[in-house]
Point group: C2
Chain length 321, copies 2
């Protein structure tokens, strides 16, 4: 029986956890909430896990580099979460918020900046300009993707644009984590490419699943009620697929128009999407892309790492299947 992914890197993940916690051990006053709910939330540390596993795929295992870069990818993820949260929540402010909640919320702009700067510090510490350039290019694309998503709010985008969006939103950082792991492991270029492709496709599947959960999940799983994306004007795969079906198109477009003018149509939209069969078709997309991600691991010779990455990918998709 193969070890699970998290067992192989259990000790490293503990070290990542304490490296991060050491950087955020002070009193953060106004931004504490933003820091606690992201950086210190004790999440799965999926991106560090990918990086640490891939860092074991080759002949070299540079633990110190791997740990520092694992912290960097996790903190970049946390910083985007914080800034997304500011953007997402703001339109739900009704009337005048209290001074305290207002400054707390707005100060989260700086919380994100602070976390990002800490991410850069981990990145610089490995003193490798090729890796810095990789990070830098990916981060630019991620931010461009976020801006595009805001521009496309309430737009029924094409499937191509949807996949481009989630690639930037999620998959590029997964891909970077795997690629960078492969680089510091000293593997060949074709293996580095294989790891990167695995990461990107895994990330795409992961985000599709996330988008499905926004329709099928309950408050307990999501920490928020279903239909949150469409409330914010973000039209994801399940809704795109439902709209693509002539039977549901008109009523869905009308309900979406209604949300723009303040109508509370999200639960009705969720109902129609569930009824339309779009969830099953979305899952089919996710499954196929996940299979593709696993196939791209074929050049990887280290079977422990290979099977750990596979199990990591498969277990994440089990959230919905």
């Amino acid at each position: 029986m193969s070890k699970t992914a998290y067992e192989i890197i259990k000790n490293e993940l503990k070290e990542v956890e304490s490296l991060i916690r050491n950087q955020f051990s002070g009193n953060f006053g106004l931004i504490s909430q933003a820091i606690n709910s992201t950086v210190l939330s004790g999440g799965k540390r999926l991106r560090p896990a990918l990086l640490l596993l891939c860092a074991k795929a080759g002949k070299n295992y540079d633990k110190s580099k791997a740990l520092n870069l694992a912290c960097a990818v996790e903190l970049i993820h946390a910083a985007t979460l914080i800034h997304d949260d500011i953007v997402d929540d703001s339109k739900f402010r009704r009337g005048m918020p209290t001074l305290q909640s207002l400054f707390g919320k707005d100060a989260a702009v700086y919380a994100g900046d602070y976390v990002l700067i800490k991410a850069f510090n981990f990145l610089y510490s490995v003193k490798d300009f090729d890796i810095i350039n990789l990070f830098s290019r990916v981060m630019e694309k991620i931010v461009k993707g976020e801006i595009k998503q805001k521009e496309d709010v309430f737009k029924v985008i094409s499937f191509t644009d949807y996949f481009k969006r989630i690639k930037k939103k999620t998959a590029l950082l997964f891909g970077l984590s795997c690629e960078v792991g492969g680089i510091i492991a000293g593997t060949d270029n074709d293996k580095i490419r294989a790891l990167k492709n695995f990461g990107i496709n895994f990330g795409i599947a992961f985000q599709i699943i996330d988008d499905i959960l926004d329709y099928t999940g309950n408050r307990e799983i999501l920490g928020k009620s279903p239909g949150n994306d469409i409330k914010e004007g973000v039209i994801t795969l399940p809704l795109l697929l439902a709209i693509a079906s002539p039977h549901y198109k008109d009523s869905l477009l009308q309900l979406i128009e209604g949300i723009k003018t303040g109508e509370d149509n999200s639960s009705r939209i969720v109902e129609i999407v569930l009824e339309s069969g779009a969830i099953e078709r979305s899952k089919e997309f996710a499954r196929r892309i996940l299979e593709k991600s696993i196939r791209s691991l074929s050049p990887i010779e280290n079977l422990t790492v290979k099977s750990a990455l596979e199990s990591l990918a498969l277990s994440s998709i089990e959230r919905t299947f």
Copy 2:
């Protein structure tokens, strides 16, 4: 007659301008407004000017390094402007803003991130980890300062805390620009320190003047009405000095309390501050710190650079005197 500071580096500043514009030549959609009003506003480029001048203070003049780092300091400044603007404006939102303005504003969170990433790209391009570390440490302090300023909103802070605040808000980036210029110029450590101290004290004086202008300026100069800082709960030197005077203390504290509960007391506060003589005393502070900044240039042997820096500092203070 000595050349003015800007004449000496006229060509370099043009190059900085086009290097920056090249990075921001596309269509920025939702974030265009944030980009145009900061990065592309055609400001004085004071921080690049400091860096470029100091880069000429030694035996080496590495133009390429100087240009790239000049772009980096300017874009860091622009990014903080963008994020400050989000934070500052938000509490003036009354009722529900339009969808378009709302997303445009919120997308500015990403505009700031984008500009910051571009700043890092310029920084990395010089491939010097000592300089990266200097930038990184300063940026962390700047963000911490911004958070502290939010925490201290409407608080009558001590003079010491006020000077700490403006050091972080403005002076550290001035100091960094000068220090980094000195480093790439290959000057001795004592000269680098002299340039850094010049920059920091110049920055402190510069920010005091900015804080004075918020009381004495008119809409034409400021682009906003006087009393803007106190509307946002930011208590600066002129108001602190007025509060320190027993004759004005109680009425000012009462008016400040009123602003917290929504009263429109800012013009009354501006009147009292002007009447109290606090402006003259603030100017005296600025003048003394500016003199200190100029005195710290004494170890600088390159007289052209030295007098250019002096004239740059003096001309900026002429805004109020």
